[in-house]
């Protein structure tokens, strides 16, 4: 991932963070995914008052890419208003992990604090095991070649 793509992805995550819908906690988070063919899709957290509802920024960004027909990702960036970088929660790691099986490869995770401090890792490094659609023998081929 080159420096331009990286800063573009982080910039998008920062812009979509501004749109977070967080009436419950007031804590906004932004994210952006980079698809294998170079497109970027942003996400933000959206809170519900019901336990079990709402979405984190990382899942929102992935869902946004899916709506546009992109399922294979090279990287995802996550930003918040905290000085230090935050990592995706376990639920988002699960989601990213499932899509790493679609991509059939690792997905880089870029975590950036408000201070600008950048931490780079990946779904394989942050997950001891990934359990996803491949483990159930589901057919992912239709989602692997939609965009060139």
């Amino acid at each position: 991932m080159d420096a331009d793509a990286l800063s573009g992805l982080v910039d998008l995550a920062r812009r979509t963070m501004k749109n977070a819908y967080v009436p419950v906690t007031g804590f906004p988070v932004g994210a952006a995914v980079l698809s294998k063919n170079g497109q970027m899709f942003g996400g933000c957290n959206t809170q519900s008052v019901i336990s079990g509802m709402g979405v984190c920024a990382e899942r929102s960004a992935i869902d946004h890419a899916v709506v546009n027909g992109h399922y294979c990702f090279d990287a995802i960036a996550v930003v918040s208003t905290l000085e230090e970088p935050i990592a995706p929660c376990g639920m988002c790691l699960q989601y990213i992990g499932e899509f790493s099986q679609v991509a059939d490869g690792d997905i880089e995770i870029l975590m950036v604090g408000a201070s600008g401090h950048l931490e780079r890792s990946s779904i394989r490094k942050l997950s001891h095991r990934i359990f996803g659609p491949s483990d159930l023998g589901l057919d992912l081929a239709p989602y692997r070649h939609r965009h060139g």
Copy 2:
């Protein structure tokens, strides 16, 4: 809602339905929301292999609008590959209901079958009671005037 807006919204829901990520059941659903200032955002269902994860088309469309800074909706359309119209599930009705408190008004629900059969209802008609952020006294003002 005029005929052009209605058919535009249904068309968008049909287009995004094609991008549904449904390796578990193979049953795609599409949706699209119309914001108060006339913009449309599509959604589709995205399935996970984990109980409690993934998103329906209606919530995906709303999350997509939120990422773009839109929180007040006039209408949402939902389409599937079934001949007859399907209604939003209870979880989506809850989500739409919460955003009807942000909009401080009813939200029309357009349900369209593959046959073209259109059914019109609204979140207030489909919900006996709506429980949302207003019931907890949460401040929704910041989300009411972002666009126009």
Copy 3:
């Protein structure tokens, strides 16, 4: 449902409400389900700090019954600390609706305020349509005859 069963169910919901894990909002809710063969199982809300995680009292009570091998319910009670009765949220109505297809019958919903005010309704009355496993042709027979 006789008066003893009704008051027993409401009492159980009130007792399990005391165990609610609500570090986020401090708003406890209790619930209890009555299985077709007369057993009762309590539930309470359990909150997470992550959007999309945690459980409401009604779903908790149903999950508790399932752990004990009960899938067919006649009634569910829900109580909170508010003076007036509260209704299940849309997500819980969806869950109760799915299990009404397992029971192949309506499920009574008892809503009780702290004042003692009781409101009686049912899943069929509170849901305009119920979408569940039967609509996908899933086999529910194994869950219909486990207890008596």
Copy 4:
């Protein structure tokens, strides 16, 4: 954790697995948690037809303990019908991680295959970082001393 407690916990997980409600995939999972004061609570997966609903066995077991007023756990066991042990999914790791902050200590994770093959790990070993209620400064004291 002594051998008796360990085999008791695994036995309970195997028994509750038999009650799993799995009309969607037919893949049952069982789990059981051991509270700090020695009580055990079982769980099983419960599936919904809606993306975003339903619960895994591990979260079901924790919710079951919460209903009974237990919030501090020493261990959780997970079993399935597969020969080899399976690990909790990311969403369950997140949930276990949040409760490890309530317990203010690590939580052992016992994974057992149908072959009897046992793998021992812990939430701290399986999570690179744990994000939970403590990170938001929420008050967990009320949940730390409920049971002796």
